[in-house]
């Protein structure tokens, strides 16, 4: 099993009365709440945390893309990934990912991912999300009725550009390019592994099966609700004649480890409450513009992640925020001693049949010291109990294939004179 350290990079200094005074953490959040000097410290802490996670043995580090929000401060995850490519040695660099329909031309993604793959010596996982409606339709003004059509065309163009040695012309429905010929090209052949972050739509499952991509279910709501979605995913794989290789699937889980359950409850209460109340305070207006979800998805009544979050936000306003105890009970966050957490995660991974487990060990306003503590305890006392799971029976066909270590460049250490 692969254990990946995922950073959302939340703005950690939203005021206590944020949810009362502000309608949304996304799209039209008050820019006067943003303090650049504080963001300087946040970015540097967050990058320290990612680098520490890579150094202490996590299999991969993950970053993602969001716009106009305090939930995640990475409009360009590629900027962070470029730094990680230099400041880490062996960890996979999982960019989860670039919202393809937002790039004009989408070749920008082909180029930047190729740069990251070359700089890192072939450690890139290329994530291709559609993107949330807040990011794509409202912040970036993309047409919800064309978003998926543009996404699929961009995907086809990028893939062709990575796998076609000759310059070609692209006469797409939305993109016209007379000369397509990216320089650089990815180091990994035919291209870096492709992972698709999704929220539970049947079409996305079909597509992942057809293309043989990893489906990564990025849920905010833990393993209890995730179980049903992943069951749907595996039922669909079976129907389509695909094997049950657990490395086809990724899942995201909030985790807080401490010496004892009691200590964990004390330590992670505030950051969890901060995340689930303030960071997920999405105005329902921005949650599901017509056209964002396909009619098949609406018909199947698979509520999108974002709608769930927005409803949560609405509920939170109407009924008071969920308590930390509820978050723990419902499995939004898994907390406890190293043994407790290892037992629970093993159970979760086996029940969901998920081989690429993404862990949020910094969340909400968790400070750097606690994030390091959580990360170190996990790496030293949880991870060893999970290592090797699934690997006796299945090959991870969706993992980067870097150059041998001895062929990879070693960045010159930073010298301050």
């Amino acid at each position: 099993m692969k254990l990946l350290w995922f950073h959302l990079m939340p703005y950690t200094d939203l005021p206590d009365d944020f949810t009362k005074k502000h309608p949304s953490v996304w799209v039209d959040i008050d820019s006067r709440l943003f303090e650049p000097a504080k963001a300087h410290a946040m970015y540097n802490d967050f990058m320290d945390e990612l680098e520490f996670a890579a150094e202490i043995g996590f299999d991969g580090v993950c970053v993602n893309e969001h716009h106009q929000n305090a939930y995640g401060l990475m409009p360009s995850p590629n900027i962070i990934a470029a730094s990680l490519a230099r400041r880490t040695r062996d960890a996979a660099i999982v960019v989860m990912g670039n919202s393809l329909a937002l790039y004009n031309p989408p070749m920008r993604v082909a180029e930047e991912f190729a740069m990251l793959d070359c700089i890192s010596g072939g450690r890139l996982v290329a994530g291709f999300p559609v993107g949330t409606p807040m990011d794509t339709c409202f912040a970036y003004g993309q047409n919800p009725s064309q978003l998926r059509e543009r996404y699929f065309e961009a995907h086809d163009l990028i893939l062709k550009s990575w796998t076609t040695p000759d310059t070609f012309a692209w006469n797409g429905r939305f993109n016209k390019q007379r000369y397509v010929n990216p320089w650089p090209r990815p180091l990994q052949k035919p291209h870096p592994p492709i992972w698709i972050p999704g929220g539970g739509s049947v079409e996305t499952w079909h597509w992942c099966a057809e293309m043989d991509y990893v489906y990564a279910y990025l849920s905010y709501f833990g393993y209890k609700l995730g179980q049903a979605t992943m069951q749907g995913f595996w039922d669909e794989m079976e129907r389509l004649g695909k094997d049950k290789n657990p490395f086809r699937a990724g899942f995201l889980q909030f985790v807080g480890v401490a010496e004892t359950h009691k200590e964990a409850l004390e330590l992670y209460r505030e950051p969890a409450e901060y995340f689930y109340n303030r960071c997920l305070h999405v105005d329902a207006r921005y949650a599901n513009p017509a056209g964002y979800s396909s009619e098949a998805t609406i018909r199947a009544r698979v509520a999108s992640q974002v709608v769930a979050a927005a409803n949560k936000a609405t509920d939170a306003i109407a009924y008071g925020p969920p308590t930390f105890e509820e978050m723990v009970d419902k499995g939004y966050v898994i907390i406890g001693s190293p043994d407790e957490v290892a037992d629970k995660l093993r159970e979760v991974a086996i029940n969901m049949n998920v081989g690429q487990l993404m862990l949020l060990l910094q969340f909400g306003n968790m400070n750097k010291e606690t994030a390091f503590y959580n990360t170190e305890l996990f790496a030293k006392r949880v991870a060893p109990q999970l290592k090797g799971l699934f690997e006796d029976k299945w090959e991870n066909l969706w993992w980067p294939k870097p150059l041998p270590r001895e062929e990879r460049s070693n960045p010159r250490p930073v010298v301050v004179r």
């Binding site: 047409n143 009725s145 939305f174 105005d283 513009p289 017509a290 009619e295 609406i298 018909r299």
Partner: protein, 259 residues
């Protein structure tokens, strides 16, 4: 759901069957409905049908308009489709009433093809955007905000336009909701995100007489936009502001004299 005296037929466009309703006698008067489209014949149309042969083709993606909107990627596609629709419905060169997004397409038809319309009535059309008085975002809305945004009679509007008819099975009610959602998507496909498509640069090409009609309580496209339209149009214009009506003028003031 047709009403007494309404003849329903279908024309083929882009492989889709597009509904055309017709009622009344005399010279043809084409009507393009507004946001949401029409699930049923309305008192507003009945009023028009007293004096004219009213012809109501469904717009792409709106109720009765199939999935045709999915083939339309840009303004050129939408205008060509609108001109096709006018011809298929026997409305080429006829007098046309366009409401809201229907007004946008009627105006674009007139701008791109002067001969396609004889006379226009535009009811609160989208198409211009003034930053100092912006057109509302009709998509970023909570469900409970919609009635008062569109209508001066929000409770009645919610009941009659936004609620599935009584007695539908759960499956039929889901389909009803999907058709409504599709209409909202179709509008987004043309007008997202601000409803401005460069019409200001083409208004001067509309040379037929234009009547501009606005609800005084329009909270979607402010009534002051009537002047902005009038000043850009080439032909004779007449403006009427209807008291007590919102953006859904056909619902709020069905007796408004048009044409």
């Amino acid at each position: 759901m047709s009403a007494p005296g309404v003849v329903e037929s279908f024309v083929k466009l882009g492989g889709e069957s597009i509904r055309v309703w017709e009622k009344g006698a005399g010279e043809a008067l084409g009507v393009f409905a507004g946001l949401g489209g029409l699930n049923a014949w309305t008192p507003f149309l009945d009023e028009l049908a007293k004096r004219r042969r009213v012809v109501v083709p469904s717009l792409p993606g709106f109720p009765g308009g199939g999935q045709l909107h999915r083939q339309l990627d840009n303004l050129a596609d939408w205008v060509a489709c609108t001109l096709d629709l006018l011809e298929a419905a026997g409305l080429d060169g006829a007098e046309l009433v366009g409401h809201s997004i229907g007004g946008t397409l009627a105006a674009e038809a007139g701008a791109f093809s002067r001969a396609s319309v004889k006379k226009l009535t535009l009811i609160a059309p989208f198409g211009l955007f003034d930053e100092s008085e912006p057109v509302a975002d009709v998509w970023a809305r909570r469900v409970n905000e919609i009635p008062a945004l569109f209508s001066a009679k929000p409770a009645e509007f919610a009941k009659e336009r936004l609620t599935p008819p009584a007695g539908l099975s759960p499956e039929a009610a889901t389909e009803w909701a999907i058709v409504q959602n599709r209409a909202t998507e179709a509008a987004a496909r043309l007008l997202w995100p601000v409803g401005e498509l460069g019409l200001a640069k083409r208004l001067h090409r509309i040379s037929c007489p234009v009547k501009l009609v606005w609800g005084a309580e329009d909270r979607v496209v402010p009534p002051s936009y009537a002047k902005k339209f009038a000043s850009g149009l080439a032909g004779p214009t007449e403006t009427r502001i209807v008291p007590g009506a919102g953006h859904a003028l056909d619902f709020d003031a069905p007796g408004t004299a048009i044409g």
